[in-house]
Symmetry: D3
Subunit: 240 residues, 6 copies
């Protein structure tokens, strides 16, 4: 390989991933998701009602908000105020779309789930960690609604996980950390279901371009990573 990972990881090796469930008490689901040094607090809260365009449809909704705490990065970053950056809006739209794919909205009924992804520490991969951790919090929130009788049947229809992959010196690597993210020529975010079906695919050439062969290498490695994340989510959800 032309690129040796600073962390010593293999090209297709994830960083250590961990989900601390019930990190806070008031949200229906609350998970502190760790992916290496990246830490995202994912909470799911439930509110009655749905946005205007769904009123009376009998369907539910899920929306996401994403923010970084100012101290999450080595240089303090000002809080976003007055208007969200384009980057933040893109990320929270991606999180929302991805986790909506987990749900049967008819079965959820006219209630709104809000996924708040607050990044406590950022070492790249915050959006994919938010999706993967957000799924765990979503399961806890659904379990809570079932336990209180608010829901009779689970609206969960897919397990969802996400990972970033990238090209460095023309080769594919899994789960980039910050120094790798900066060095990567191509940066991909991949969201998949429990069957490794694609939900979302976003790839950008920061420099140069990429071929369809390279695209396939990136997707192969993403499948490996997501396969592992799906298992780690299951393990976390089995533990009480």
């Amino acid at each position: 390989m032309a690129w040796t990972r600073p962390s010593g990881r293999q090209a297709d090796e994830l960083r250590p991933v961990r989900f601390e469930r019930r990190f806070t008490r008031f949200a229906a689901g609350s998970v502190l998701a760790h992916c290496g040094e990246t830490q995202v607090l994912c909470t799911v809260t439930v509110q009655p009602g749905v946005p205007k365009f769904l009123e009376g449809s009998g369907q539910g909704w899920l929306t996401a908000e994403y923010r970084m705490l100012p101290s999450a990065t080595p240089q303090r970053q000002a809080r976003e105020f007055m208007k969200l950056s384009g980057r933040t809006q893109e990320i929270q739209r991606l999180i929302g779309r991805s986790l909506r794919a987990a749900l049967d909205m008819k079965a959820l009924g006219e209630r709104t789930l809000t996924v708040d992804a607050d990044v406590l520490q950022a070492d790249a991969g915050t959006r994919t960690t938010a999706i993967t951790g957000g799924y765990v919090a979503l399961c806890d929130a659904i379990a809570y609604l079932l336990s209180t009788g608010e829901l009779e049947a689970s609206p969960l229809r897919h397990q969802i996980a996400a990972v970033s992959v990238g090209l460095l010196h023309g080769e594919a690597f899994l789960d980039l950390d910050y120094p790798e993210d900066v060095a990567a020529e191509i940066d991909f975010n991949v969201v998949m279901t429990e069957e490794l079906a694609l939900i979302e695919l976003q790839g950008t050439a920061e420099e140069g371009s990429f071929s369809r062969t390279q695209l396939n290498q990136l997707l192969d490695i993403a499948e490996t990573g997501i396969g592992e994340l799906l298992k780690l989510q299951q393990q976390a959800l089995r533990s009480s």
Copy 2:
């Protein structure tokens, strides 16, 4: 095919595409790009200097703004005010990234090109039309800078075009118009160079998910469409 196109087009057939160059006079490049009923006015203006993070680097910059006129859609849409929607921000970031890939920023030098993409009429595909038409306006702006002696050599290093593709009833279709866009299960935007190398790939499952086989079908059809757009751009640029 399970889906018959309302327009009678073939699955891999573009809508009629046309570039009206020099549509307005004050911008260095000004192109009214038509793609079927979609009309986007793409202008490129030149300003000295670069954003803070590039000052003193000797490199230039290109940035994009995207807006819809309120009367561009069948129902009047309010102008975006106070804050841009997430959709608008995503689109203008995509246009900017895609057209930056056309340029050698060192050769451009410390000046900023602004691509304004104002949608006069929207019938789906506005962001890809903005990129494809924006490339033509960019060529005109560079030609202008060369003619005035502001630039000695062209910083253009790649030709760029973009197209949307989507899955309808599980099959791949090129260049969706509005009724198709609404009906599509999967929606992709693809940006490529003159060699059909990938610059950007964004695919979202609005409903369901997609396999890697389907991804390949979508990319095949996108290559066909972009190949044609590259020729149409060349024709437009050859005409005086």
Copy 3:
């Protein structure tokens, strides 16, 4: 004359004026109005309901929005955001008031017409071009409402046109272009009906002051110009 017009026009001569009807398809009325190099896209859209202060009155309303595209001027201008400039607000209030004078609001009924005046190219006289072109788009919108049976009788009660006049070296000139607008001591906008009755009169001494004799000279020349504009509107509306 102390001032020779750069364009060679007579003191009481309009620039070439042209109205491209049905410039876009989705608005009820859509006119690209040209006045010399000035180009304003005037669209009229129809929405049910009226502002709060008119609810239940049986009366309709007309409101206007005015913006310049960033590339409309030789130097790119930033889009107005967060707050509209005082100039923009003055202009859109003027357009709204002037075109409301064309209508019998009772006959319009409880619907709101929105006139969007988007300046594609600015060479002075944008607000008066927006009014004169907006009237043509308004006629098309009313014709559309009559053709669909939404309206049974036309609420149009006056034809409206507007022109700018100014004093240069103490003499009155019609329809100033940009270099003249900058040089003018006194700048007037005049809005009149088909009978040359005054609807709005706004004059500002940018430098010095003006006498009532000069005011009369300005109004004489404005009457000439508006007389001609009224004919050009009629011609445009007669052509299919």
Copy 4:
């Protein structure tokens, strides 16, 4: 006359006008201007420097801000926040332009005068009262700058006063109060110099239209009113 004034005033009679100079202590000029029940606190403050577009020109500048206190009207009005209404912006631009006409900006030198017109009580005519009272405060501010030696010669070159006139039942009336303002078909604001030369003329047909004959009647009556206001300003400025 078809209209009998509720106040019993003659058609060409002003309301009682009074200027309380030095109403507050910290501004260079501070005048509480009364025109009937209308009360506007006009202050003039002086700051070094000028806006960017004048830097290095050796010229000074005057700018105006206009606001209503929430309790100035019979129904409390919310403070303008986030964005100023079009009405407020039009008014403060008018006040600024009118009072700039009083000054020789070269003689003022590179300093900025800010006229704050805060309406304590509103019974129509607030903008013209702000101009007429603002002129008195401006004289006090200039006198202060002369007394401290900041200025060696007065930059005042014109005396400025303003009045509103309107058509009611087709006839011209001077200085409308609130019930008249609401009933008027045509509403004019007129700003003139000590020689009754016109500085600004703004007339709007709220209903119907007006002829040039009526315009002349309105201007005749405005001259009468402004003539009187010019004398009242002089009297106020002579008193210590």
Copy 5:
């Protein structure tokens, strides 16, 4: 005493205090409160209805807004726009809480009183002057509601007054003016009822800290001042 007051006042001596009732005509209560050079226009307006959280409770509400006119201070201050400063928000919350303590909200019924405190001139003590003067305006507003029959019984249950006290060179002083306010180590605002019971106590060490002994000295002197203010309010309210 280590500190000699620039004004020659005793340590426990108020500045001259005066309440001009009915300063403007349209508000139910309108008082121009003077405390030395500090002038605050306090108006109370009445609106039907209450904020959401009180709807249907049968209780009324009182809210306050506080602003400085730009010319209130020796250096002109920009108007607060887009967002209120933290200082302004703290002050208007304090005024609101303090004057709510004067009222039996059940007896007021579902209406909202708005206290606008607009500082015309600022020489320290503006927030306490706003409370003390606002109480007088509140009494006038209640009297008005009783006189019109809108209220049958007075909801006033406490008389409220406020004063500032501070430590200078370690000793307690009453009613600081601006030069004292700047020099004070400790700054207290004290709000009390007619029985000298405490409603609000806010003390901040700008420099150093303070002991409980000093706190008691400050409260002793505040009681003296508030005792006097309570009498002055009564006198003002007795005069017609």
Copy 6:
């Protein structure tokens, strides 16, 4: 006692308090402070330079930002956007003032410390927990600056802790939790130094009023609580 604490605590008993130091890695100081169920992440970051009003003074500055995560409360709360609530601004000003009292700004030199207090879980007492925990994070940040040689001597001059106290049924209680906070008639926040000297005292009668005797009871109990908090801070700082 008329009030029995739901938690079974004594009137002068704190909730369990715990400081998790180095909770995140990128800030110079990072402490997750627990006070019962209340959890506040307090980070201190260091930036070169100071606000304008201190430039060139040789002095440093400390500022604070306070926010609640949306999921911190049983009902999800919208993020504050566009403008901060008055409550939030009051709190962050209080945190900033209180922690500035800990520092010798001359010894800090021209650098700015930012204390971010992000409430992960809110059960009353968030502002006092932010101050008490923020002090621990501040010590860690100063130790870091000493360890890197950025500072030669510690600018810490006071230890700072804060607690809330309140009156319930007329008696004083320490460290109110949420159900108590809602029920309290009087609510006090007290900030003190290592010598129990007062830095800040803020008391508000939500209902009724309070006597000076009650004030003294509240301060007695606050001294007890702060004495304990000072010891807990010391213990946390001694542990590595």
